[in-house]
């Protein structure tokens, strides 16, 4: 069991981890999620006593790491792969660690077999691929048969077979009653491996929940509804009708409507009653990845900005903090594949890229650039550009 209480780490003026409190329980795989630079590795290093916390403390079975009598027999860790002297061969690398903890050398050959490196045990680890380095790191973690295991990005560089192996290994270790703490920046990976999730962003705790709960809370079903192109009245009518019926209606970049909280037949009935024709009514499910992105949106440190090539359009930034308030489903950079704004449906083959909503946070504080947009050659005013339409 790993327990963190008010864990804080500052590097000069930068706070890498702030007031982090959580528990990692034995018997399950706990995923540690967060965008790059969110403080996952710093937290891992503090658990291992490599970095001293600026405030708070983290204990393993009630003791800090440095107080553990034979740390390698109690805690196994895979930090960044290749924390290895490349000139030493794999077997000798493990042998030095085994001797440090009083582990007999036959155990070294045993773990080399477990990770599938028995044939390259006599080869220098400097020539190892990233995946082989990961396997060697996992072997080092397993060496002491510890009851607590930490894996920092264990599937990095592994082939699909290796990823599957790591997944099963972690589940097996947890089923034996061990505490397994795995960091990753891939929600999809964690969804398949972890039982419990601890999500951090900018060094702060954002969620501490079971995976199933996270899914039920965060992956919202919705329907995509499209009204006839260019018929603004029909669209507005539908939006208000659905709104009255209790639906949450959001506008998408290509003019479609994203309707949640109402089942599909009901949407169809309401549209029929309001005498609105529908061009599209399709069911969709937000993926876990999207839910994770939504959760950590405000906490991403390194984010690529869209190349607008226009400098004239004012883009409203999402409010700092957790972007969970209401909508902003696909804010900056969080567009899932296939939902990129495209001009194609409108047939403006030669039209300049028209992305009035790209990068903006939906209806929130977005003001359309009046008169700055080149008029499409056809009569259809294309996507609605009036903020009021989007409700």
């Amino acid at each position: 069991m790993i327990e963190a209480h008010g864990l804080t780490k500052r590097y000069g003026a930068k706070t890498a981890v702030y007031n982090l409190s959580f528990q990692v329980r034995p018997g399950s795989v706990t995923g540690f999620l967060g965008p790059n630079g969110s403080g996952k590795s710093t937290t891992m290093r503090m658990i291992l006593g490599l970095d001293a916390p600026s405030a708070g403390q983290v204990t393993i079975g009630g003791r800090t790491f440095r107080q553990l009598p034979n740390a390698a027999r109690q805690v196994g860790a895979l930090l960044d792969a290749k924390s290895i002297h490349g000139g030493r061969n794999a077997r000798n690398h493990l042998l030095t660690l085994a001797q440090l903890a009083g582990i007999p050398s036959r155990r070294v050959d045993e773990v080399l077999g477990v990770v599938g490196l028995q044939d390259v045990g006599r080869k220098r680890s400097g020539g190892f691929s990233l995946g082989m380095g990961q396997r060697l790191g996992i072997a080092a973690a397993l060496l002491g048969d510890p009851h607590v295991l930490l894996f920092d990005e264990p599937v990095n560089g592994l082939d699909p077979e290796g990823i599957l192996w790591v997944r099963n290994l972690m589940k097996k270790l947890a089923a034996e009653g061990r505490t397994v703490f795995v960091s990753s920046h891939l929600m999809s990976e964690m969804a398949q491996t972890a039982d419990h999730l601890i999500v951090i962003g900018r060094g702060q705790l954002m969620a501490d929940t079971s995976v199933s709960e996270f899914i039920s809370q965060n992956s919202v079903d919705f329907a995509r509804v499209r009204t006839p192109e260019g018929d603004q009245q029909q669209r507005e009518k539908l939006v208000s009708t659905l709104g009255e019926a209790g639906a949450l209606v959001e506008s998408e970049e290509d003019g479609a409507l994203k309707v949640s909280r109402l089942p599909l037949p009901r949407i169809s009935d309401l549209a029929h009653a309001a005498d609105v024709r529908l061009w599209e009514l399709s069911p969709h499910q937000a993926s876990l990845e999207e839910a994770y992105m939504r959760l950590t949106q405000g906490a991403v440190d390194y984010r690529s900005t869209e190349d607008q090539r226009s400098g004239l359009q004012q883009v409203a930034q999402p409010a700092p903090g957790y972007a969970q308030q209401g909508g902003m489903p696909y804010g900056n950079g969080a567009l899932p594949p296939g939902q990129q704004p495209m001009g194609a449906p409108y047939g403006h083959a030669g039209a300049p890229p028209q992305q009035p909503y790209a990068g903006a946070s939906g209806w929130q504080g977005y003001y359309p650039p009046q008169g700055q947009q080149p008029a499409p050659p056809q009569t259809a005013p294309s996507a609605p550009t009036n903020p009021e339409d989007h409700r």
Partner: protein, 324 residues
């Protein structure tokens, strides 16, 4: 969590009824901070008993580390070649010139002056290569006692450096003794305190000279290497630490020689007197400054040992306080 008595061989213990042991529902997460039910399992305890580790484990591990990298073999082999090779060349040069009064074994020091750079390199690499490769995190994650790690590294390195350097300098001393010794010399040409270097009118090496030129030289170079290890632990950077050590070795005699002609004669003499190079020269009976030396060979060894221990204490203080 995991108490040793709980272990039941084979089967993992799945006990979902064990509620009270866990403080459930204490999460402090803002969104979705609900506690996870289920997942309540008695902890795992390894069937193999956990032994308490001690310095012996660290020594064994460090010994494996130092013998399983190529840099150890290379630096020590080059050191051996330099010491013995230059010793042989010096002996050939000195042996052909007749009537010298320099101590018989003095020719061994020139190889050691160069050879100590190899030992410095190895001393630095023993610790800085761990920082350079990231191995230090693996090491410290396997054994959390940093002081023990530094002590084990120091002892293992010192032992290796001392044994190899003493072997090389002993071999060189034997070469010097056989090729340079035995020359005819007039006892009157030697100062009072070196009269025992003459036996039957021939120049020989006394037992003190033998001791200083073999074990003394080995100790001196091994201590220089240990100082390099301490510097490496402080700087955590191979090139920086090696450069620093070269500065420690080379700057005092060079600066001292330059300053001798200026008004700073006292400073210059102090620089020359207490420079590590002079320590080695004094051990071979040829101190840099003529006249009465302030420190004997043993005195130089003591001075260097003091400096090295101080540097190791500083390295320990930095090692325990810094993040890895």
């Amino acid at each position: 969590m995991s108490t040793p008595q709980q272990y039941q061989p084979g089967a993992p213990v799945q006990d979902s009824s064990q509620g009270p042991g866990f403080p459930v529902g204490q999460q402090s997460g803002p969104p979705g901070g609900a506690p996870a039910p289920g997942a309540q399992v008695a902890g795992y305890t390894s069937p193999i008993p956990v032994k308490k580790t001690h310095l012996g484990h660290s020594l064994l591990s460090e010994w494996t580390k130092i013998r399983t990298v190529r840099s150890t073999m290379w630096t020590l082999a080059v050191m051996f070649l330099l010491v013995v090779g230059i010793g042989l060349l010096t002996a050939m040069a000195l042996g052909s010139s007749d009537g010298g009064t320099t101590p018989v074994l003095a020719g061994g020091q020139f190889g050691l002056l160069l050879g100590q750079i190899c030992v410095i390199t190895l001393g630095v690499l023993v610790i800085s290569s761990e920082y350079g490769t990231g191995m230090i995190r693996t090491t410290l994650a396997a054994s959390s006692s940093r002081g023990r790690m530094l002590l084990a590294k120091s002892l293992v390195f010192f032992f290796v450096a001392f044994v190899t350097t003493t072997l090389a300098s002993t071999l060189t001393a034997m070469i010097q003794s056989s090729m340079v010794g035995g020359q005819q010399v007039d006892p009157a040409s030697l100062p009072e305190d070196r009269q025992d270097s003459v036996e039957n009118g021939k120049l020989i090496a006394t037992s003190d000279e033998w001791l200083d030129a073999t074990v003394g030289a080995g100790l001196y170079v091994a201590l220089i290497g240990l100082l390099a290890l301490a510097i490496g632990a402080m700087l955590r950077h191979s090139a920086g630490a090696i450069t620093t050590m070269l500065g420690v070795i080379l700057v005092p005699p060079i600066a001292g020689s330059i300053m001798l002609g200026t008004g700073l004669k006292d400073t210059a003499e102090a620089l020359l007197e207490y420079s590590p190079m002079n320590g080695l020269s004094t051990l071979f009976g040829t101190p840099m400054l003529p006249g009465d030396a302030a420190l004997s060979g043993t005195g130089h060894l003591g001075l260097l040992a003091g400096v090295t221990v101080a540097a190791l204490i500083g390295a320990y203080a930095m090692l325990t306080s810094r993040d890895v």
